[in-house]
């Protein structure tokens, strides 16, 4: 430290914006998300793990079902959604687990920021990692199973399902962050809640691959959208309560 440069450090007034409403809230959401993404670009420990696991799982499923299943389109919807759920857990538990392991969470909680802003920042980075996973998985599914999933309705369903998964997963990751067995607690809590998303996602994908009319599948899209809205609102309200006094 330098004595000379200390003088004047406290003499200059430091201006802070107070209040600021939604704009300030969104600025902090962005700051948390950008910090996580920047750290991930350096450390490469979350998204890369998810993507490698996802791609390996596609290959393993491809080899496993190649010999026995008469039509690969029959199993692809299930494979897609199972891999997204399982690979996603790898990243979700790190979103807060890394803050706990490196003892940086108190630094976040010391700042004048609503816990929900931290939650939504983490949600944004988790969402990005899950979309990257899917972006890498779809071409491999096409190659391994000869099944084209690039249909607008499938992609919309995948977007809505992934959003709901990231919402609930980030919430449970926050809830279990301080528990000793968070790696095992997270899937135990998360997967049962994800059953509606899984069912809707698989049914929607299978319906499109089977050539059924889109009009008959909109109920699955509605289920996914309603799930997203409910958990978006619930997380916003509950996260502030569960983090009180951490």
């Amino acid at each position: 430290m330098s004595s000379d440069s200390l003088s004047g450090l406290l003499g200059r007034p430091v201006q802070m914006r107070t209040g600021g409403g939604a704009k300030a809230f969104l600025r902090k959401v962005w700051a948390v998300a950008a910090k996580d993404i920047r750290a991930e670009l350096r450390a490469k420990e979350v998204a890369s793990t998810m993507i490698v696991f996802g791609l390996l799982a596609v290959i393993i499923f491809g080899l496993a079902f190649d010999l026995r299943v008469p039509k690969s389109a029959m199993v692809v919807p299930g494979i897609l959604w199972v891999i997204v759920l399982f690979a996603g857990i790898l990243g979700l538990h790190r979103s807060f687990g890394a803050e706990i392991d490196r003892e940086t969470l108190p630094g976040l909680l010391l700042a004048p920021v609503e816990p929900s802003a931290i939650y939504f920042g983490k949600l944004a980075s988790n969402l990005l990692y899950l979309f990257l996973l899917e972006f890498c998985m779809l071409p491999l599914l096409l190659v391994m199973f000869d099944t084209n999933l690039y249909h607008p309705v499938i992609l919309l369903g995948l977007f809505l399902g992934t959003l709901g998964y990231a919402e609930v997963g980030t919430f449970f990751a926050a809830l279990t962050a301080n528990t000793r067995a968070r790696e095992s607690m997270l899937p135990v809590l998360l997967l049962p809640v994800m059953v509606p998303v899984f069912m809707a996602g698989v049914s929607l994908t299978a319906g499109i691959l089977d050539g059924r009319p889109v009009s008959g599948l909109t109920s699955w899209l509605v289920i996914l959208a309603v799930f997203d809205v409910i958990f978006f609102v619930a997380a916003y309200w509950i996260v502030d309560l569960i983090w009180d006094g951490i």
Binding site: R42, E103, L109, L110, A111, V113, E114
Partner: protein, 229 residues
Amino acid sequence: MASGNGSTGEPIVRVEKVAQRYGRKVVLRSVSLEVKAGEVAALLGANGAGKTTLLRILSGLDAPERGQVWLGNVPLTNAGHEIRRYVGLVSHRPLVYESLNGLENLHFFAQMYDLVEPEARIEAVLTAMDLWHRRYDPVRTYSRGMIQRLAIGRAILHDPPVLLLDEPDTGLDQESVAVLTDLIAQLREGGRAVLVTTHNWDRAERWADKIFYLADGSIEDGAEALRQR
């Protein structure tokens, strides 16, 4: 002991009969203390005496089981997150991100504290902490002393009126400790209230206007403890 000339009459930190326990272990029984603006108070005590617990309560990271903490005229309990602008904490842990560099760390915290045009402030803090020349290096490449200096920089970045320093001299070389002493003196001059924990009696005497001694979960007379040392 240091002579405080930035001190004003009203206590800015007031702790009233705070008690805390973890499970069945009582850490704080009934702790009361006050620190005025422009005053430096040292908190001494053996390992496990409850110094860190008290600082966590004062920073709002933990809620006390009983008692009340006031920052100015505002009770900390249920004060909302905005009160955290008024406190800076140097913890046992640096609370900075190893994969980011020093500049990115302070930029991130400047955003979290809503600093207006933070670049000049960040440069001033990094320069004062002698880290400006290493600003683009990842924190994981810093020495322990450099990480501690960055932690101090993070705590003073938003220039809080209350500064809580939990063993801030940990990992610092003699030269850096001398500058830390200078910083604490300037914080006093600038009217900030500083509560610092340390195991080092000599430093406590040099830094502080008054000394609290924490033993068995209660505050004892620091001067008396000093005489019996």
